[in-house]
Amino acid sequence: MTTTAADTTPRPPAGRAGYMPGEPGMWFFIIGDLFIFAVYFVAYMIYRGQQPELFLHSQQFLSPGIGVINTLILLTSSWCLALGTEAARKGNSAAAFRLLAATFAIGALFPLLKMVEWVPKLAAGHSPGENLFFMYYYVMTGLHLCHVLLGLVIIGFMLRHLRHRASPDIKFIEAGAVYWHMVDLLWLVLFALFYLMR
């Protein structure tokens, strides 16, 4: 692993407004994804309002303990990634690599816990076809899980990039980071809607 080239690494304009981390294309994708999910969130709330008893009854079969642990997992992985992005900007590739490896390791717990949550529910007969609540629950958390898995692949590419490049492409690191933070962001809303609200 290389930790040189600190002086050639692009730096963010600390304290100056107007800096956009990552690539414009990634932000276009992220903003589009945020608005698509927002439509799902609002649709969920509208359908929930039509059958509140059904949704409240079905909520009892979820596992809020696993939900809160998964929230803390994503927040902690995002924190490691934000610190890693800063380290990469400072040209400290070794620290950036360690922090991104931690991001990956912690983030990889999310799909594992999701399986621990889903499998017993499916075995107990709570499938997407049971009712509208479970349909929304599996479709929306499933879509989010696909985003998590893609994010882990992206972090894998970021790790490979940091391992092989003396001077990391900071725009690439930032673009991957904002994607992962978006995955975190979407889960915060999903957690409130499915597990917590009454």
Binding site: P12, P13, R16, A17, G18, Y19, M20, P21, W27, I31, L34, F35, A38, F41, V42, M45, I46, R48, G49, Q50, P52, L56, H57, Q59, Q60, P64, G67, V68, T71, L72, L75, T76, S78, W79, L81, A82, L83, E86, E174, A177, V178, H181, M182, D184, L185, L188, V189, F191, A192, L193, Y195, L196, M197, R198
Partner: protein, 92 residues
């Protein structure tokens, strides 16, 4: 390690963790679980929006970003909160 502890991002992570645990505790309902409860719903949705703004501002670094990006992302979080509360309220 101490440099990470002194980093403002660590304070943000701590705040996000504390709000998450508090909202989970609130969401347990304290005896009114799984009944319509506007106080719990408003609390957890507002806390989710607050956490979203913290993630957008600090982890996604939008606080340093151009005005259009701030308007779009903060507008997404606040607009979503308003719509979710509105559609909840229409049916309570």
């Amino acid at each position: 390690m101490t440099e990470y502890l002194r980093n403002p991002l660590t304070g943000v992570w701590f705040a996000l963790t504390a709000i998450t645990i508090f909202s989970w505790w609130i969401g347990q309902g304290q005896g009114s679980a799984y009944q319509l409860d506007a106080a719990i719903t408003v609390s957890v949705l507002v806390m989710a929006a607050l956490k979203a703004v913290l993630v957008i501002a600090w982890f996604m670094e939008v606080r340093l970003g151009p005005a259009w990006l701030k308007r779009t992302t903060y507008g997404w979080a606040s607009g979503l909160l308003v719509l979710l509360l509105l559609f909840y309220w229409l049916r309570v």
